[in-house]
């Protein structure tokens, strides 16, 4: 039964562009899929390995700028950014890991937050390299219609999903969770926690960077304030995963769906539009208090909420 549903879903996704949806809706869908990649990537480090990062914008931005700068300085097509950023982001992740992974818990969160901001300020100031706040503009984007972008991101998302599934179902996955549950116990059992945390960080960073490179190609314009943004990228990533469900497979996708759609709907409503951060903030608080494992993780709680009478003796 599950396999059939899955098959139908995949078919539906593949045929989606032919449903004649407006390009605006396609745009939102592409964003949803991109955010689910970012969410899944964050989840590897945060949900599974327990290292909560508030600075994923650093990876996203580096990925976006890799693609953008290849175009701007070397005249290459920005799509090369995707394969090249695998290398670049691995290097960046190693550096970030070296600095931050020795820290625990909240300290790690703060350090990543700081690094995200460092990247932003650096990108703003290194005008000779990044154009600073003038940003990078791709004059002719590869395709005008949304369809091919949709397939590209769908492919990237499928690839990420399969990769993460493979990793989490292997020994690596168990090591990650062991580190999350109790790092010291894991260490004492002979697991090289630093090594495995670094691997988790690299996977997380590379996937986020790929999403960033895609973003450069798709949107055609980036600047440090957009791609290194604390509230629009880093915190949104955390929200996507927290709302959807930490440490679950479907969680980040669900979270991306909810957050992106919610963002669009709220923003388009004239009166409430200005208050969208308030709504998000309240949502975040409610989720933290009542559904700390997200919609997917605490699915049972939601179900129970809708059927109260049954469990009462």
């Amino acid at each position: 039964m599950k396999k059939l549903l899955l098959g139908l879903l995949i078919l539906f996704l593949l045929l989606l562009p032919f449903l004649g949806l407006s390009s605006y809706i396609m745009h939102v869908l592409i964003l949803v899929i991109m955010w689910s990649i970012i969410g899944m990537a964050w989840n590897v480090l945060g949900g599974y390995t327990g290292q909560v990062s508030f600075g994923h914008a650093a990876f996203f931005g580096v990925g976006a700028y890799t693609a953008g700068l290849l175009y701007y300085h070397l005249g290459m097509s920005a799509w090369w950014g995707i394969p090249i950023c695998v290398v670049v982001l691995t290097a960046v992740s190693l550096v970030v890991g070296y600095i931050c992974l020795r820290l625990r818990g909240a300290y790690f969160a703060l350090a990543t937050l700081a690094l995200g901001e460092v990247c932003r300020v650096a990108a703003e100031n290194m005008v000779w390299f990044t154009q600073g706040n003038l940003g990078i503009l791709i004059k002719e984007r590869t395709w005008i219609g949304k369809t091919w972008y949709y397939y590209v991101i769908l492919l990237l998302a499928a690839g990420s999903y399969l990769l993460i599934k493979k990793v989490m179902e292997s020994k690596l996955g168990y090591y990650f969770v062991a580190i999350r549950e109790d790092q010291d116990a894991a260490e004492s059992l002979g697991i090289d926690t630093t090594f495995y945390k670094t691997i988790a960080l690299c996977i997380s960073g590379v996937l986020t960077g790929i999403a960033g490179a895609f973003y450069m190609n798709y949107m055609g314009y980036i600047d440090p304030g957009i791609v290194f943004s604390l509230s629009d990228i880093s915190i949104l990533t955390v929200m996507v995963v927290m709302v959807g469900g930490v440490a679950t497979f479907g969680g980040p996708t669900m979270g991306a769906l909810i957050m992106v759609f919610l963002a669009e709907i709220v923003r388009s409503t004239p009166k409430i539009g200005a208050a969208h951060q308030t709504i998000f903030g309240i949502l975040l608080i409610l989720i933290i208090i009542f559904l700390p494992n997200g919609v997917v993780g605490d699915f049972r709680k939601i179900v129970k909420f809708f059927k109260p009478k049954r469990t009462r003796a």
Binding site: L5, L21, S22, S23, Y24, I25, H27, V121, E124, N125, V127, G132, N133, L134, G135, L137, I138, K139, E140, R141, I144, M219, G220, Y221, D223, I226, D232, L257, F261, I265, R267, S268, G273, A274, F299, V303
Partner: protein, 397 residues
Amino acid sequence: MRHFTFVATVISIFILAICTTQVLAQEARFAIPLPLTGTNAKFGEIEKKSYEIAMEEINAAGGIKGRKIALEFEDSQGKPEISRSIAEKLIDVKKQPVIFGEYSSSSSKAIAAVAEERKVPYLVVTGATDDITQQNYKYVFRMNPTNAYYAVGLLSLFKEVVKPKSIAILYESSDFGTSGAEDMAKQSEKFGMKVLVKEQYEKGAVDFRPILSKVKAARPDVIYMVSYVMDAALLMRQIKELRIDANLYAGGAAGFAIPEFIQNAKEASELVMTATLWSPQIKYPGAVEYAEKYKKRHGDYPSYHGAEAYSALFVMKDVLTRAKAWAPDDIRVAMKATSMMTAFGPIKFEDKEGYTNQNFMDTLVMQVIKGKHETIWPQKYASAKYVYPIPKWRERN
């Protein structure tokens, strides 16, 4: 089974949302993207109010080709990627044949890229960074002067009256600040002014005194700042506090050209000059009336951004009246042929000096004299005589 119901519910909500947005997309009005929230909200508001005043006047005179205009405003929150989505929505969903609006340089740039790609004409109203009209875009038209030209009036004042030998440039790290500073630096070289200090700062900086002390040590003849209003006010206050005596303090429009600057910097704003594109006293037709009407309604004179927005709607009226049909290519042809006078100044789109479809007009200089912005240069537009040289801080009051 429960999982299935859940998934089905989610998908149905999803489909419902799609249908709702489709239904809402049927109206035929003009939607204008503006930053109504976020850091540029203030200017977004000024432009919105100005568009509304223009709309009322045009409708009172019969509308465009007998049709009354209705305006809607889409909030881009000052973020270029949102401006971009709004532009795509307007073109693809609302099928608007022409786009105009937006305030910041980066948002205007993002929309310009979309407009050119989709072959829909876009009128840039306020975005000032030069590269928007340096890309050979056929569909993008800009009615406001670019950053490179903002300071033309100021520079002619320098050449004829001030004759400075050195300059210090401070600018905020935005698109606008960076391009304004780069242009001033380039022009300074041409003039033989040595650039002693050129520093960018992040908007919202708390303490400029370290950098100002550095400026003080360099002893420039002119201190030129490209900032938005609060930084502008803070800069002048701290300059006064540190008693930095330059021959002239000049701003690159934006924050220096609006009344809040005077209200917030108080005595520190006195005798500060600024480049500007327009002033409430200027003799273009309809300018003074618009400024007074705005002041009566909203309590303060509008900035030049307001005048840009107000005139933009009149430009659109002119273009749409002349266009063969209200379709993108016809509108583009009509726009290219524009030649008219507005409250903001003369509007004609030319291809010259590396720019495409760019309007060129005189830029002015204002000075704060006795707590009020007066136009002082070029002299044919002046409402008061300029004050130069200016007294040292210690000698004031």
